[in-house]
C-alpha cells in the first residue's frame, strides 16, 4: 500500500464522510432516542437534555452520567458526573493520538475544531479510509458532523414519545458498533507483528476488565498493544 497521496481536506472528502456515516445512522438514532427517554424519565428539561446530547456528544458516557444524576443536583454530584464521563472517555486520548501521524502537518485551527466531532465511529471510518491509502481527512470531519447532527436530533422523539424501538437488542441494534469495530480489524491486519500486539492488547484488556471492570480495559489494553507494536519488529 502506498501513502503517496498528499494530506488534504476537500469538500468531496467531507461529503464522502457524510455518506459513509449512513452505515451507522440506525444505531445512532436508536441509541440517541434511548438517551432522550432516559433523560425525560430522570426529569431533565428539554433544554437540559438537548444541551447534554449536543455538547457532551459521547454516547456511553452520557448514560453513565445519568446513572449518577439525582434531582436536586449538588456540587458532589456535578463532580461525580464529570469524573465518570472523564473515565469513560479517556480512551479518546489514545484515539486522538493515533491521528497525529496523519493530521500533524495540518493547520491547528482546522484540526482542533474537528476534534470536537471525534467519536469512535468517525474515527473508525476515517482510519478505514486511511488504510486504503487515502489521505483526505474531510472523511473524519464530514462523518463526525453528520453523526453529531443525527445524534442531536435523535434525542427529540425519545424525549417526547419514548425510545423509537422498545427493545433495540431484539433487533440486533446493540451489535452495530461492536460489529463496526470488528469489521475494521480485517483491513488492519497486516501480519505477525500485529497478531502478537493484538494478543497482548486483548489479554491485558480482558485481565483489566476482570479485575477493575468498567472502561479501564480499553485504556490499558490499547497502551499495551501500542507499546508492543513500538518494540516488536517483523
Amino acid at each position: 500500500m502506498t501513502s503517496s497521496s498528499p494530506v488534504t481536506i476537500t469538500p468531496a472528502g467531507i461529503l464522502l464522510g457524510a455518506r459513509l456515516s449512513l452505515t451507522i445512522i440506525p444505531g445512532s438514532v436508536a441509541l440517541g432516542s434511548v438517551f432522550g427517554m432516559v433523560a425525560a424519565q430522570k426529569g431533565l428539561t428539554l433544554l437540559e437534555t438537548v444541551m447534554m446530547q449536543s455538547f457532551v456528544f459521547a454516547g456511553a458516557s452520557q448514560f453513565v452520567a445519568m446513572e449518577v444524576y439525582r434531582d436536586p443536583l449538588n456540587w458532589g454530584l456535578v463532580l461525580a458526573m464529570t469524573g465518570v464521563v472523564a473515565a469513560v472517555n479517556m480512551r479518546m486520548l489514545l484515539v486522538g493520538a493515533s491521528l497525529r501521524p496523519w493530521l500533524g502537518g495540518q493547520p491547528a485551527w482546522q484540526v482542533y475544531p474537528t476534534l470536537f466531532f471525534l467519536t469512535d465511529i468517525n474515527w473508525l471510518l476515517a482510519m478505514r479510509h486511511h488504510q486504503d491509502g487515502h489521505r483526505d481527512w474531510g472523511v473524519l470531519f464530514g462523518s463526525g458532523l453528520m453523526i453529531w447532527v443525527v445524534w442531536s436530533l435523535a434525542v427529540l422523539p425519545g424525549y417526547f414519545f419514548g425510545a423509537l424501538i422498545e427493545d433495540p437488542q431484539a433487533w440486533g441494534l446493540d451489535v452495530v458498533l461492536p460489529a463496526f469495530f470488528a469489521a475494521l480489524l480485517v483491513p488492519l491486519w497486516k501480519g505477525k507483528r500485529q497478531t502478537l500486539g493484538w494478543i497482548i492488547a486483548g489479554a491485558v484488556a480482558t485481565l483489566t476488565w476482570e479485575l477493575l471492570g468498567g472502561y479501564w480495559g480499553v485504556l490499558t489494553g490499547a497502551v499495551a498493544g501500542a507499546v508492543a507494536g513500538a518494540y516488536f519488529h517483523d
Binding site: T45, V78, T82, N89, R91, G96, V175, V186, G217, G221
Partner: protein, 106 residues
C-alpha cells in the same frame, strides 16, 4: 410546549459545561501531546499499532460480557468483511445474525 421545557438548572448547565470540557480534553489532548513528543520511528510504530489495539481492547470485554448471539454476529461481520471488504454489508450481516439468533432464543 411550555417555558419550563426551555429552562435549565444553573448547576446542571455547569455540569454539562464540565462534562463537555473534560470530554473535549480527551478528544484533543492525546493529539496535542503527540505533537509535543518527538515522532521517532518507535513512537510512530506505536501510534500505528494503536488503532488495532484500541479495537481489540474495546470489543473483547463487550464480547465476554455479551450473549452468544453477539459473539457470533461479530464473527459473521469479520467473515463478510474478509470476503467482500464492505463495512456496510458486514455490519448489516451482524445485525441480521444477532436478530435471528435472538428470535430463535439463542
Amino acid at each position: 410546549m411550555t417555558d419550563a421545557a426551555f429552562s435549565a438548572d444553573l448547576l446542571f448547565v455547569l455540569a454539562v459545561a464540565m462534562m463537555t470540557g473534560v470530554t473535549y480534553f480527551m478528544r484533543a489532548g492525546g493529539y496535542w501531546l503527540m505533537g509535543r513528543l518527538p515522532l521517532t520511528d518507535r513512537v510512530r510504530r506505536g501510534l500505528e499499532a494503536l488503532p488495532g489495539a484500541i479495537i481489540i481492547s474495546t470489543i473483547l470485554p463487550i464480547v465476554l460480557k455479551g450473549d452468544l448471539a453477539l459473539g457470533l454476529s461479530l464473527l459473521s461481520a469479520i467473515a463478510v468483511m474478509a470476503l467482500l471488504r464492505k463495512d456496510f454489508i458486514a455490519v448489516a450481516a451482524a445485525v441480521v445474525t444477532a436478530a435471528l439468533l435472538r428470535s430463535a432464543g439463542i
